[in-house]
Amino acid sequence: MPPTKELAMSSQTNVLSVPLDRGAVPATRSVVRQPRRRRLSGFAWEPWALAAILLTAWQLAGQALAGEGNPLLPPPLVVFAALRDSLPELWRGTISSFLILLPGYGTALVLGVTLGLLAGTTPWLGRAFFPVAKVAAPIPPTVFIPYAIAVLPTFHLSATFVVFLGAFWPIFLNAAAGAAAVEGRHRDNARVLGFSHFESLRKVVFPASLPHIFCGMGVGLGFSFILLTVAELFGANAGLGRFVQYYADYADYPRMVAGILYTGAVTWGAMTLLEQARHRALFWQR
């Protein structure tokens, strides 16, 4: 036996000799990831060039319009000043918005993943859910907003509900698709290892479905932000959508544009966090 082992090890030295622990990024993968990391950390000049062109065009157009006494397109410098002045208010708005977003999205995540995995693995639940999902999922959730505001007792509750609706279907459908697409070899292994239904859901179906689940989470998060801000246009007294709506009513275009930019940045930040979580959770995917 010893020579066998020695040979096996020596043929693998390049992999084995690199000291790795569970948390470390394995050598082979960091090589694959390098180009991507470069792009993420902003070494590429192209996006900056495009941003500079857009900003310059904006500045020139805004100046020209302002010269004619037209306030509709405040130039970037004016907007940035307004943004700086509005930061405290925007921060309060962010908190208010997230108090809607997090419970709505969180509930959608927990219920969507749980029911999706169950429906994807339990035939009768699948038969119950999928036809309903087919009809209900394509309804644009925005159409529920007026009704939810009218029916539910508080704005907070109605907005949370609408955010939930928007995020639930994509998460549910993706989790179900992921559960149904678990590779046969993983299912066979769970069975020959004597896993119970619950055990195989937790240890096999859930991790194997994570790529799909994260895909659904991304779509769901996008929908959540759209629904959140639209709902706030209708009836909020605080929040990001409300901020934009409020200053639009007063024709304070610098603040309004600042609010749009800020909302974009917050959305981008949330998406980036999700992308990072996905990257960490799916480390095992080649």
Binding site: L16, L20, R22, F283, W284
Partner: protein, 285 residues
């Protein structure tokens, strides 16, 4: 001690009685009768399409027969069970768990009451048995195919099952790694007491003769067992000496002829089917 031996001698093996298996309209296996003694190493040898992997899946309980009966240790097989450990051809470790955690799942099934740390220690001991102690904390994607297959074997061993079912476990490996793993399997199997009853699916005649006590040769269209060859060579077997043994070469020829004859019979019956089979047959000689 004597008690244990008596127990071993009375262990029952695997039994398949007049088994048919159809997939939709097509008959995959017909009239399979096979008994594997407890502690015996049986190779199922045959060309692609002879249903040998299907037969193994039936023994594993992953498929149900269309008709017929399967028993393990006298009990009917009506689903997968941890008393029948399985190693698949494609390293089927869970990629999101470390190698040690993969094995620890099997340890947990064999000994449900164990504390987590003890489970880890035993998983590591099983990995050491297959020469993978160093790799315990790694993830499957960090390992070569041969190492993943070692880990899969360690996981099967960790179930401590009386039956071990292996579906072309070394089929995807390069020749050097295949030879190393064949030696490892022999060492581990011979070193176990009691020895597990082992069913090993392969399409390599040399591999079957090197490893097994008995070779059941299967033919295709539909899959059936055409002959059963005892393998008389003494253990422990040494690869190079065995391959040069005239008795080995004779048996090897005989089995190759049996496979060819089956192919030719089919060639007469259905020239087109036979043509494909003949092409495949050439690979096994």
């Amino acid at each position: 001690m004597s008690k244990i031996i008596a127990h071993v001698e009375h262990r029952e093996g695997l039994r398949i009685e007049s088994l048919d298996f159809a997939y939709g309209e097509s008959l995959i296996l017909r009239g399979i009768d096979l008994a594997v003694q407890a502690g015996e190493f049986l190779a199922l040898l045959g060309p692609s399409g002879s249903g040998k992997s299907t037969l193994l899946r039936l023994l594993a309980g992953l498929e149900r027969p269309t008709s017929g009966r399967l028993t393990a240790a006298g009990d009917p097989i009506d689903g997968p069970g941890t008393e029948r450990a399985v190693v698949f051809q494609h390293y089927a470790l869970f990629p999101w768990m470390t190698v040690a955690d993969n094995v620890a799942e099997a340890v947990h099934k064999a000994h449900p009451g164990l504390a987590r740390s003890e489970r880890r220690a035993r998983a590591r001991a099983h990995l050491e048995r297959v020469g993978l102690g160093e790799a315990a904390g790694r993830y499957p994607f960090e390992l070569s195919g041969g190492m993943q297959q070692r880990a899969a074997i360690a996981r099967a061993l960790a179930l401590e099952s009386p039956f071990l079912l292996m579906d072309e476990p070394f089929g995807a490996l390069d020749p050097v790694n295949r030879a190393k793993l064949q030696d490892l399997l022999l060492a581990v199997w011979q070193g176990s007491s009691p020895r597990p009853t082992l069913v090993f699916v392969t399409h390599g005649i040399d591999e079957a003769l090197l490893l097994a006590d008995r070779v059941a040769v299967m033919g295709a269209n539909p899959g059936r067992i055409i002959r059963d060859y005892p393998v008389p060579f003494a253990r422990p077997r040494e690869r190079v000496a065995l391959y040069q043994d005239p008795g080995f070469q004779r048996l090897r020829e005989e089995i190759a002829e049996t496979l060819d004859a089956d192919t030719l019979t089919r060639l007469d019956a259905n020239p087109e089917a036979g043509f494909h089979a003949a092409n495949q047959g050439a690979r096994y000689v």
